[in-house]
Subunit: 172 residues, 2 copies
């Protein structure tokens, strides 16, 4: 499950990776009203993420590392939303992985310098959707989920290659 | 209860404000080992704060607004710790108040430009401790708790004055 955390809008996307193909299982946005007290907004995000983890039982949670293009005030806000998402994942016993925006773009578009629109189009194409996801936040969450699925598949393949090499007596 | 959130060290301080005098009830630091997975560190902070709130049953939680003198990366880290503290407060049904470092220094030392050492000395003196608190983080947490106690006492007094003014037919 990929998550794009934010106090007002937290995107989520769940993908299944199977035999080299990736498919979307769910995607959407958790929204919290600005009128709500800040602590109550975090309660909503924490509850919604906990419920999504319970429903989908993913193997892992992936988040984008959002240190760039932010000022310190907005970074604190994103950090607060991120904190309750990481807490929900750890409470569910799941590992949490961070990816830089460059790694996500590279994984989805083949170039670390892809535009937001290219990422959205490629997410739609890779997942076989009718078009790009309508929400930016859901698209970003699906993109980081795809990035993690690719990385995890690569590591499984690399571990398999190392094992095969050992079987035939080659030092990996 | 004042809290100075941080991933490695979260300071806390509990004060009672009664008839113009402020007294320390508790103070200390929640520490999490760097070797622990980031999500597990947040679980520790959330559990420890939840337990402190249960034990002391404070009226409110006060946090320092730490937007200054931070880079974006450390702001995200502080934000993550802050998020789980705000979550614990909201889950306990408590309001959370933010104070700027200037407001805290003004309240404790009478000047917004006081040094860290002046704040620590004044916290020790105001609370009648034998000396300044040994931990920076506990001192900062006690300072923000004192700041909130002063503000809350002022607001109660102002509301009382307005009520008295109405009683004698004076528009406040």
């Amino acid at each position: 499950m990929g998550i794009d955390p934010g106090v007002a809008s937290t995107g989520y996307g769940v993908v299944r990776f199977d035999g080299g193909r990736v498919a979307a299982l769910d995607g959407g946005v958790i929204e919290t009203p600005a009128a709500l007290e800040p602590g109550r907004r975090l309660v909503r995000i924490h509850e919604a993420v906990t419920e999504l983890l319970r429903r989908h039982e993913p193997d892992a949670v992936a988040l984008e590392d959002l240190y760039f293009g932010k000022n310190v005030r907005s970074a604190v806000g994103v950090g607060q939303a991120r904190g309750v998402v990481m807490l929900a994942a750890a409470q569910a016993g799941l590992p949490c992985f961070d990816y830089t925006p460059q790694a996500v773009k590279m994984s989805v578009c083949g170039t670390g310098g892809a535009s937001k629109e290219q990422v959205q189009r490629m997410v739609g194409a890779l997942l076989g959707l009718d078009g790009p996801p309508s929400s930016d936040h859901a698209a970003d969450a699906l993109a980081v989920a795809i990035c993690h699925a690719n990385r995890a598949a690569f590591e499984v393949a690399a571990a398999g290659a190392a094992r095969d090499a050992r079987t035939v007596g080659v030092t990996p």
